[in-house]
């Protein structure tokens, strides 16, 4: 009887100690906000284009953290979907709407002699990348443009083009080397190509 009592008391004491410890830790090491949302948000391309149906990347990140699909970000492309799938440990999904896997990065360009200075695009730009004033010509600060397309729609004179970002010496990238010839025929996928063998 006495042993049982001692055991119960000991366990109770331990429970109390650990409970206090956990309580203290939950207060002391409290994390503000949802760190998962921050992580997801960090993976999204931050174009703030709203193509996912949310008003910006962070709202979509929040939606994802609450269980929304991870394949709603065309600007991010498949790589973003994969990264998100990796982070959240969910299945990789093809991009919604059959969008191209790696979207071409674009920037807005205002044909300045056609601009009437209506400021509508300025209001639409989520990152304040358009410079201009009423009745004055507008221009896009290229380095700030995320290529979200949001300024194209409101332009009353359709003077905004989305141009692919030009590759410069600084942005040029090495390509992936072409895959080599397979050693044995059964390694080949698809049809046997004579020319390749000859090579």
């Amino acid at each position: 009887m006495e042993f049982v009592l001692i055991a119960i008391l000991a366990l109770l004491g331990l429970a109390l100690v650990f409970g206090l410890l956990l309580g203290f830790a939950s207060v002391r090491f409290r994390v503000e906000g949802n760190p998962l949302v921050d992580q997801i948000d960090g993976m999204l391309p931050q174009t703030q284009c709203g193509q996912c149906g949310y008003p910006g990347c962070r709202p979509y990140a929040e939606a994802i953290s609450e269980g929304d699909a991870i394949n709603k970000c065309p600007p991010g492309g498949q790589s973003t979907v994969e990264a998100l799938a990796d982070l959240l440990d969910v299945d990789v999904l093809p991009l919604e709407g059959g969008a191209e896997e790696e979207p071409v990065k674009t920037v807005a360009y205002i044909r300045e002699d056609e601009c009437i200075g209506c400021t509508k695009c300025i209001q639409a730009c989520p990152v304040d990348a358009i410079l201009g004033a009423a009745k004055q010509m507008h221009t896009v600060i290229e380095s700030e443009c995320t290529g979200c397309d949001l300024c194209v729609e409101p332009c009353p004179v359709d003077c905004i083009d989305m141009l692919p970002i030009e590759t410069t010496l600084n942005t040029w990238k090495w390509d992936m080397p072409k895959p080599g010839v397979q050693l044995i025929v059964t390694d080949r996928r698809g049809e046997l190509v004579e020319g390749e063998v000859a090579q």
């Binding site: 948000d41 960090g42 999204l44 391309p45 931050q46 174009t47 703030q48 910006g56 990347c57 962070r58 989520p126 990152v127 304040d128 990348a129 700030e144 995320t146 590759t167 410069t168 010496l169 942005t171 040029w172 990238k173 090495w174 390509d175 992936m176 080397p177 895959p179 080599g180 010839v181 397979q182 050693l183 090579q199």
Partner: protein, 1001 residues
């Protein structure tokens, strides 16, 4: 010689260096066109400082350094700038980049230039800037701006300066030839660098495959005081790699991701040292360099000093290129260089070698086979990486893992590819992986930047929204305040104008009434005519007349009704006028008080108050005048024609309109603080006075008229009818009043409407009554009242007696009214006092006459009294209650500031009216009592005393009764005595009561 170290791995590819060392360094010819790229170094491209068409001299700055890591670009030869455009540049991508294209004139004319006399004499910063301005960047291959490296002494302790003369790549002999021919310059250049960095030890690393260069160097080194070691190391590729060289010479390994300066070592190329010498001693900027031209496709492979921007074609031609066997043109060494497609590409500051290779020399890379995991790449990697793993990761795009395997420590030397049995282009994989990771990082940076901007914008929008909301609220509050102020003003205005506002359709109504009257008269005339002449259609005419009569009456009524509603309409009875006068007086007093208070405290708008007071005075006077006029109106006998009356009225109205206009103008002026306000006020007052004079005239005329009318045109029967009307109206009023009371008690929403209705009824009643009053016994000029023709003492009852009595009552009321009016007049020291007194006396005498007549006719006065005292008492108490109610209502209304002024006025007048009614009722009761007392007095009995006696007797009886009961209970002996006393008391009380009952009912 110092201790030898070694680095991991390395390969020994065929050197092929001897080919280009056969000839001394030649000077390349000046090409027709120089293509000078703006970005020949690592860092920001230089900024163009010349424009197309400019003539530039050799050594002239054509593009300036932009940013910290950048250098100047100079014109390699004299000539004209023909274009600043994109041109193919030596880059792996084969892409174009902005270039300055100079058409040379062949003169090769130098700009004025000079070296430094004593570089040690000037501050180090100036020396570094001098080097920077002379466009010197690393000549080894990367092209890092040299001046940045020369600053390393500022924040690092530089122990060792390492000079790289390894030139480990096959084919290249530029440094070798440089050292062979210009070792002294190199050493002097090293001295400049050592002066800037102050290292304790200088080492020149050189491979043992350049014995001539080593010899020349050693010779030259004897001339220097530097602690300089020439370290000859075995040839192995890639010993020329910076980190490998440092490891070789010092045994120190530069940690991953750090620079050599972090371990106290700075590395420079010997070519750079030579360029520094040229700049510092001769003032020659970096406009040319030694480049190795080699390859089997060249007839005379050799090194040449060529101007920067010289197209490869020129160089190749100089070296005797055989274009037919030229298979591949490589810029840089065979291990790290890259193939270019165009011969128009210019050579730049980092171009140390151009290989014109034949097919046999550099065949296309054999197709890559799958990795067999042989591990040879790992064995040769000088960076001690795991190339095979990196390859897998790069292939699988697992960049994160590649990064973890120190991908960025790879120097892309190509040793792994060189040894790979499967011919896998390993370096290309690494380059691809690196590029991807860099791009990703750049993307990440950009997206972070975009996020920051987005969040900043959101915050800004939020802030703007909040600000807007705050502003809106502020505006709303301000507007509410302004509205409140304006409302107050409006109310004051309304109060001012309410008393004088005219009915807009009064004129129209009047015209309608007049028209109706005229028509009626015409019809009557026609009827008369017809009757006289016995014409046909009399009946028809009669009907028409009746119809017209009705119409005329309706029109008149319609006209009268709004008129009576008006507070200052002339047709109101004297009572109303009197009330008005009293109200006006009160207001005047209030205004005076307010003014005095304001003057005392110096607060408020004195001018406005004064003007108000003046207006009030005028109003009061007008009201008083109207009242006086009305009171004395009976004396004016001559009727004034209606037309004239109308004219007068119109005059008064127009005057009123003028006054209103002027007043509003004045208010506006006062509000705007114009100095003309005083003048305008005077004008307004004048107008007001004129208006009141006109009005008074009109009222006088009207009153006179009505009096005359009533005098002349009313028959007794009509008077009776009028009386009935009045009575009926009174009943209606009472009923309506009761209903209103009930409504008020039940808080019905229709109270306001009902009130208005009651008010209307009342005014109708008043009108009827006044009509009746004026019709009945007109005070002064009428000798004997009409309805008194009954013979004296004939009848004891009947209509005549009743008539007499009511006449008498009316007269009594009149007398009391007149008396009161007299009192007011006396109090106000009116000039009409004398007249009024006479009138009152007359009235009194008339009343006495009537009374005696009535007494004669009907005997007792009290007996036929219609109104019993109980009812009278009740009336009084009802009136009192009503009055109290109205007063409390008024009080609450006054304390409640939200009620409009005019409503308050209505309430006030109501209270006043009730006060009067209460007074009247009380008077009636008093009169009744007085009659009784008089009667008693006539018999020698004091009624009051009698009453007291009765009460005493009653008390005595009660006392006796009680005593008797007690005695009965106690069965005392003197019971009989007590009973006797009781009987006596009872008798006495009975007697008194009997007497008393005679005088009461």
């Amino acid at each position: 010689m110092s201790t030898q170290f070694s680095f991991h791995g390395g390969v020994h590819p065929p050197e092929n260096k001897h080919r280009s060392t056969g000839l001394a360094i030649q000077t390349a010819p000046i090409p027709e066109q120089l293509v000078v790229p703006l970005s020949q170094h690592i860092g920001a491209p230089s900024e163009v400082v010349v424009s197309v068409g400019d003539y530039v001299l050799k050594g002239q700055v054509i593009a300036e350094a932009a940013g910290r890591i950048s250098v100047n670009v100079h014109a390699p030869s004299s000539g004209q700038i023909v274009a600043i455009e994109k041109h193919e540049v030596p880059h792996i991508s084969g892409m174009q980049a902005p270039c300055i294209i100079i058409k040379t004139d062949g003169k090769d004319e130098w700009i004025e230039h000079a070296g430094l006399d004593d570089y040690k004499a000037i501050p180090k910063q100036e020396l570094i800037d001098f080097i920077r301005h002379h466009g010197i960047s690393g000549m080894g291959g990367a092209g890092f701006p040299t001046d940045v490296k020369l600053h390393l002494g500022d924040d690092h302790i530089v122990n060792t300066l390492v000079l790289n003369a390894m030139e480990c790549e096959p084919y290249i002999t530029a440094d070798d030839m440089l050292l062979r021919e210009h070792s002294e310059n190199v050493i002097k250049g090293i001295e400049v660098i050592a002066h800037l960095l102050q290292p304790s030890h200088v080492m020149i690393g050189i491979e043992d495959n350049k014995p001539q260069a080593i010899r020349a160097l050693e010779l030259a080194a004897k001339a220097t005081n530097l602690n300089l070691d020439i370290v000859v190391v075995p040839t192995v590729y890639p010993s020329g790699g910076e980190k490998q060289l440092i490891k070789l010479l010092t045994g120190v390994e530069v940690p991953s991701g750090r620079i050599p300066a972090d371990v106290g070592i700075v590395c420079q190329n010997v070519g750079t040292a030579a360029a520094i010498y040229d700049a510092v001693f001769d003032g020659v900027p970096l406009i040319s360099r030694i480049v190795t031209l080699t390859g089997e496709a060249l007839a005379r492979p050799h090194n040449m000093r060529a101007l920067i921007g010289t197209p490869l074609e020129t160089l190749l031609n100089t070296a005797g290129v055989n274009q037919s066997i030229l298979y591949r043109l490589v810029v840089g060494g065979p291990m790290m260089g890259f193939t270019v497609d165009s011969q128009a590409i210019p050579m730049i500051k980092t171009t140390n070698c151009v290989i014109a290779a034949t097919y046999n020399e550099m065949p296309p890379a054999p197709p890559a086979n799958p990795c067999i995991r042989c591990g040879m790449c790992e064995q040769v990697c000088p960076a001690e990486l795991l190339p095979q793993q990196l390859h897998w990761f790069a292939k699988g795009k697992e960049f994160e893992k590649a990064k973890h395997h120190n991908l960025f420590d790879c120097i892309e030397c190509g040793a792994c590819s060189y040894v790979c049995p499967s011919n896998i282009p390993l370096v290309q994989y690494y380059r691809f992986a690196k590029a991807e990771i860099r791009a990703e990082e750049a993307e990440q940076r950009k997206s972070d930047h975009a996020r920051i901007r987005f969040e900043a914008r959101q915050a800004r929008l939020e802030q703007e929204k909040a600000d807007k909301e705050a502003r809106r609220k502020q505006r709303a509050a301000d507007a509410a305040k302004a509205q409140a102020v304006k409302k107050d003003k409006d109310e004051a205005k309304a109060a001012v104008s309410a008393s004088t506002s005219a009915e807009p359709d009064l004129k129209a109504l009047k015209t309608a009434a007049a028209v109706a009257r005229t028509k009626l008269k015409k019809a009557q005339k026609a009827l008369q005519n017809a009757e006289e002449k016995g014409l046909d259609g009399q009946e028809k005419l009669r009907v028409t007349v009746t119809e017209l009569e009705a119409k005329a009456q309706a029109a008149q009524e319609a006209f009268d009704q709004p008129q009576t509603n008006k507070t200052d309409t002339p047709s109101l009875d004297i009572k109303q006028l009197k009330t008005n006068a009293a109200v006006a007086r009160t207001k005047l007093k209030q205004a005076e008080k307010a003014l005095a208070k304001a003057e005392e405290s110096g607060e408020g708008d004195l001018i406005e108050l004064r003007s108000k007071l003046d207006a009030q005075k005028v109003k009061t006077e007008a009201a008083q005048a109207a009242f006086d006029q009305a009171e004395s109106g009976g004396e004016i006998s001559d009727a004034i024609p209606q037309a004239k009356l109308d004219e007068m009225k119109a005059d008064a109205e127009s005057a009123f309109a003028k006054v209103e206009k002027a007043r509003s103008a004045l208010e506006a002026v006062i509000e705007s603080g114009s100095p003309a306000a005083e003048k305008m006020k005077a004008g307004v007052e004048k107008l007001q006075a004129k208006y009141s004079a006109l009005k008074a005239e009109y009222e006088k005329a009207l009153a006179g008229n009505s009096a005359a009318e009533s005098k002349s045109s009313l028959s007794p029967a009509e008077i009776d009818a009028l009386k009935q009307d009045v009575e009926a109206l009174k009943a209606k009023v009472d009923k309506a009043q009761a209903a209103l009371e009930a409504a008020i008690a039940s808080d019905s929403p229709a109270v306001e409407k009902m009130k208005a209705g009651v008010e209307k009824l009342k005014s109708k009643y008043q009108a009827a009554k006044s009509e009746y009053d004026s019709a009945v016994p007109v005070p002064v000029p009428v000798p004997v009242p009409v309805p008194v023709p009954v013979p004296v003492g004939v009848s004891h009852h009947g209509v005549d007696l009743d008539d007499l009595k009511s006449d008498m009552d009316a007269m009594l009321t009149k007398v009391s009214k007149a008396k009161r009016a007299l009192a007011t007049a006396e109090a106000s020291q009116s000039p009409a006092v004398e007249k009024m007194k006479a009138g009152v006396d007359k009235l009194q005498s008339k009343y006495d006459d009537l009374k005696s007549e009535y007494l004669n006719a009907g005997g007792k006065v009290a007996e036929p009294e219609v109104v019993d005292p109980k009812a009278l008492k009740q009336d009084v108490s009802i009136m009192r209650t009503k009055l109290k109610k109205a007063q409390t209502l008024l009080d609450t209304a006054e304390s409640d500031a939200s009620l409009p002024e005019n409503e308050l006025d209505v309430l006030k007048t109501e209270v006043e009216r009730l006060t009067q009614l209460h007074h009247e009722a009380k008077e009636k009761l008093d009169a009744h009592d007085k009659v009784l007392i008089d009667k008693a007095a006539a018999e020698g009995i004091d009624l009051k005393k009698l009453k007291i006696d009765a009460a005493m007797a009653r008390a005595a009886v009660t006392k006796a009764e009680r005593a008797a009961t007690k005695a009965r209970e106690a069965q005392t002996e003197d019971l009989s005595d007590i009973e006797q006393e009781l009987v006596i008391a009872q008798q006495k009380a009975e007697k008194i009561n009997q007497t008393l009952s005679r005088f009461s009912d």
